[in-house]
C-alpha cells in the first residue's frame, strides 16, 4: 500500500494545456511544504508534460498510477522554495 497520505486531490481531465499544469500549480501553491497532492490527468500530452513541469518547479514526484481508464493519477509532494 501507499506510504503517503493524500492531502488534496484535483482532476485536470476536463482542461487542456496549459491550464492542466496551471491548475496543478495553483493547487500545489495552496498546500504546505511536504503535503501531498494527487492529480488525475488524461493519457497522452498531459502525462508527458505535466509531471515534467511540476518537477521543474522543484516538487517531488512520488508516483504515477495508471488508473486503467486512459487516465493517470500523479502523486506529488510539495517542496516549498525560498
Amino acid at each position: 500500500m501507499a506510504d503517503y497520505k493524500i492531502d488534496d486531490t484535483i482532476d485536470i481531465t476536463d482542461v487542456v494545456c496549459p491550464v492542466t499544469f496551471v491548475k496543478a500549480k495553483v493547487a500545489l501553491e495552496e498546500l504546505d511544504d511536504g503535503q501531498i497532492l494527487a492529480v488525475r490527468m488524461n493519457n497522452g500530452e498531459p502525462v508527458q508534460n505535466v509531471p515534467r513541469s511540476i518537477k521543474e518547479e522543484g516538487h517531488q514526484i512520488l508516483k504515477l498510477n495508471d488508473n486503467g481508464d486512459d487516465t493517470f493519477t500523479l502523486i506529488v509532494r510539495k517542496v516549498e522554495d525560498e
Partner: protein
Amino acid sequence: MSFTNEQVERYSRHIILKEVGAKGQKKLLNAKVLIIGAGGLGAPVAMYLAAAGVGTIGIADADEVDLSNLQRQVIHTTADLGKAKVKSAKETMQAINPDVKVNTYRKFITSENIMDIIKDYDFIIDGTDNFPAKFLINDACVMAGKPFCHAGIIRFKGQLMTYVPGEGPCYRCVFKDPPPKDAVPTCKQAGVIGAMAGVIGSLQAMEAIKYIIGKGDLLTGRLLTYDALTMTFRTVKLPKNHECPVCGDHPTITKLIDYEQAECDMHI
C-alpha cells in the same frame, strides 16, 4: 481567496511563471496602482495593468479625448472623442478585464489634492507630460513614502526611473528644479512618435508589476534612456543626493509646490 476557473485560464500565462505563480497573481489582484495622466504613457500602463489583473487601478486626468491624442493614446478610440479621458480609459480597462476595479479622478493633480489621491495606493505611475506635475508627484510620493515610476517622452526619445522610499535617488535628486519655461519643449510643441509612449509606458507597467510581485531589480538608482533613432537603451547609474531638498538628510522642501506652467503647455 482562491481562483475561479475563469481566473486560472485568464492568468494562466502569469501563473505558469516561476516568479509569479498563484501567489504573485494574488498579489496583483490585491494591488492598488494609481496612474496620473490618461494620455500617451498612461494608456499602455492602464491597459497592461488591467490585463494583468491589478485589482484596483486609479486614473487621474482632467482632459477630454481630442483628435490629436489618438496618434499615441491607444486606450481611447475615435468614438471616444470629446469624452472625459478617465471615463474612456475606465471603459477600455473594464472591457479588457472585468476583474479590475477602476477609480477615476477627473481633475488635474495639485498640491491641494495629491496627498489625498495617492494615499490609498501601493504604487504610483507618473504619466504626465509637464515638469510642474512631475516635481509635484515626486515630492508628494517622497513625503507620503510611496514608490513611483517616473517617465518622460519626446520626439524619438524616452526615459524612466523608479523611486522606492529608502532606496536610491528621487526625481529631484537627479533633476533639482523644473527647467525655465519654454527651455524644454513639451511633446505638443516638439512632437513624439506614438510608439514611444507604448515602449516607455509598457516599461512603467513592467516596473509596477515587478514591484507588486517583489521580483527582479527595479530602476532604482538608475535612469533608463531610450533613443529610437539609434535604437539604443542605456542605463545611467544615479546616486542619491544627500543634499536633496526633498529626500535628503536635511530637507528644505517640506510643503508641496505648484510650479507655474506656461499657458501653451497646459494640456496633457
